[in-house]
């Protein structure tokens, strides 16, 4: 999976900035996507390209259980969020609905990746190749359950 990085050098990017509460009434994913990251970066929907990755610090997705958060990001085209750590509900929501991959990396890797870098993520080998910088990093492997849900294509296809 190859994509370009949109980096937010921040911890605790919460679900209220990913998709503010007032938009939780919206049922249509495409409309929801026009408000993705509005609380933090209102230009996000216009600059994001299909296949891009978000890179951020610790505790990404903290706050509410709204699945609207990974939905809004994935509908914009985000295929993975690479962060130092994730809030657990966001993490599960991302894989349960097969919206995007939540990928954990260590602090050092997080620092090495810059905005606009082109990355190749390989979840078989747990490696992230930075094509722009010609570097290779390792990602934290998914736990057994998460790996199984991802390869099944979401919670409902898992153990069917």
């Amino acid at each position: 999976m190859i994509g370009n990085v949109i980096k937010y050098e921040q911890d605790n990017i919460d679900t209220d900035v990913i998709i503010p509460g007032t938009y939780l009434k919206i049922h249509d994913y495409n409309e929801l996507a026009t408000h993705a990251m509005e609380g933090l970066d209102p230009d996000f929907p216009s600059k994001v390209k299909d296949g891009d990755f978000i890179v951020a610090g610790k505790n990404f997705g903290c706050g509410s259980s709204r699945e609207h958060a990974p939905i809004a990001l994935s509908t914009c085209g985000i295929k993975a969020v690479i962060a130092v750590s994730f809030a657990r509900i966001f993490y599960r929501n991302s894989v349960d609905g097969a919206f995007l991959l939540p990928i954990e990396v260590d602090e050092e890797t997080y620092k090495k990746i810059s905005n606009s870098d082109s990355l190749e993520i390989n979840i078989e080998t747990n490696e992230i190749k930075n094509i722009t910088k010609n570097e290779t990093y390792s990602m934290k492997p998914f736990s057994e359950i998460i790996a199984q849900i991802i390869s099944a294509g979401g919670l409902f296809k898992y153990k069917k």
């Binding site: 605790n12 929501n93 057994e144 153990k159």
Partner: protein
């Protein structure tokens, strides 16, 4: 073998468990609301599935309901559609709904316990992160996303990774147990363990300082477990728990037998091991006020807004985040907390809008008037809380002091209905999240207890509420 309370509940709900694999856990109660359920019902329809146990599923409408006169038509069409969708889904799938005009309507985490739906030792889920509130009854209660809502509706089970255990031991006695509240205890805990301190763990709050609390105060503590990163927090049930749940609308018929059983089983065995432990002495806790944009950015009321460097403690990212928070909050470092003026006061939310919260706030407000620069509102956590408060005359006390007295719902906690802050407005709020834009785009939230919110409404700025009682 010794076990913690959480492990006992987990073990008694395992349907399938194999080494190195997730466990399939049985769910005893499933609560739903209008915001996180529509896609789940869509999914059921697409796949021709039924709700497996409609009898264990209960719905209410709380997030986007107007808190003004409900006999008037709703102005917001998308909210109205979302409400109608839930009404239709409940009808189609045979689920009990406490709808917009039902006397039992209210914030989902307030009505669960109030109706006796929440029971000790049970597993409870809801598509809402503050489901952790109900852990105060010794239940394993946690928030889930919409895919998991659909899975629970279809199967009454969930695939879960077993969380680790984290003991939060609260010792000592609060110096002023009226002015230093359970909200101040939990904010102090989050300040110290951080917003991700509990990630992957279930918190068990223990110790004399916890037993000392009423059920409603315990709910405030468990409610905010998620702000420390924990999907669930719990407290072992005791006589207070059993009394609280007795004779509620849905209290089971064999309640006495259940209580006997709970008394024998629902506790952490002596010498059990937790994966982590944190101890806090509540005697040292002062009233707390948040100054930043996450619930760990909190200060004692007698102190000052910290400098980013003080807050960050050599961690660059933390220093940066504090700078950003201060700029969003329009606060200067070293400003005494009590010098921060406020524009709005919100007493409400699943954290602090139960009867005791309103009684305590009314105690402060009685005979006084809201500062002319402030607009203040009280939004009871449920219609039942509202009614009980009115029976005690609390509505009069608030109204006489120029507070608005509203119908129940989530209201200004998350800004989905018309109750929102204007950009730049500063609010003393009894809710649980001070994230940027949470209460309305550009709005500034300070998390406080109900008594602090009440006193600040009168003074027009934060005050050391210990001097008020």
């Amino acid at each position: 073998m010794t076990e913690t309370l959480f492990e006992k509940i987990w073990n008694s709900h395992v349907v399938v468990e194999r080494d190195d694999e997730p466990s399939l856990i049985y769910i005893d109660r499933h609560l739903i609301h209008e915001v996180t359920s529509p896609q789940a019902f869509d999914g059921l329809r697409v796949n021709n599935r039924k709700v497996r146990r409609p009898d264990l599923t209960v719905a209410t409408i709380d997030h986007n309901v107007p808190t003004t006169d409900r006999s008037l038509p709703m102005i917001d069409e998308t909210s109205s559609t979302q409400i109608k969708t839930l009404e239709k889904n409940c009808k189609d799938f045979g689920i009990k709904l406490f709808g917009i005009n039902d006397p039992n309507q209210g914030i989902v985490h307030v009505i669960g316990p109030q109706l006796g739906i929440t029971l000790p030792g049970s597993t409870i889920v809801c598509g809402d992160s503050h489901t952790s509130t109900q852990g105060a009854f010794g239940a394993f209660a946690f928030g889930i996303g919409t895919s998991e809502v659909e899975h629970t509706l279809a199967t009454q089970t969930l695939w879960l990774e077993k969380p680790k255990t984290f003991e939060i031991l609260a010792t000592g006695k609060r110096k002023n147990s009226f002015a230093v509240t359970s909200k101040d205890i939990i904010l102090s805990i989050i300040k110290q363990i951080g917003t991700d301190g509990g990630t992957g763990h279930v918190l068990e709050y223990r110790g004399d300082a916890i037993s000392d609390l009423s059920m409603e105060q315990r709910m405030t503590i468990c409610n905010m477990s998620i702000e420390a990163g924990s999907r669930a927090g719990l407290i072992a049930p005791d006589e207070k728990t059993f009394d609280y749940l007795n004779n509620r609308k849905y209290t089971p018929k064999n309640y006495d037998d259940l209580v006997d059983d709970w008394k024998n089983n629902l506790m952490t065995d002596a010498n059990s091991k937790f994966d982590k432990t944190f101890t806090i002495d509540v005697e040292k806790i002062e009233p707390q006020v948040s100054w930043g944009t996450n619930p760990a950015m909190v200060s004692d009321v007698t102190s000052k807004v910290p400098t980013p460097e003080e807050f960050g403690n050599n961690n660059e990212i933390q220093i940066e985040s504090a700078k950003k928070a201060l700029s969003y909050m329009d606060l200067k470092p070293d400003t005494p907390i009590v010098d921060i003026p406020i524009d709005r006061v919100f007493i409400g939310s699943c954290t602090n809008a139960r009867l005791e919260d309103l009684k305590d706030a009314a105690e402060i407000v009685k005979g006084k008037t809201v500062n002319s620069a402030v607009s203040a509102m009280v939004v009871p956590g449920s219609q039942m809380v509202k009614l009980q408060a009115e029976e005690l005359g609390l509505d009069r006390i608030f109204k006489d002091a120029n507070f608005e007295w509203r119908e129940s719902g989530c209201s200004m906690c998350l800004g989905m209905n018309p109750d929102i802050l204007k950009p730049g407005e500063r609010c003393a709020s009894t809710s649980n999240r001070n994230f940027e834009g949470r209460q309305g785009s550009g709005g500034r939230t300070h998390l406080v207890s109900p008594v602090m919110a009440a006193a600040s409404a009168i003074a027009g700025h934060f005050v050391d509420v210990r001097e008020w009682c």
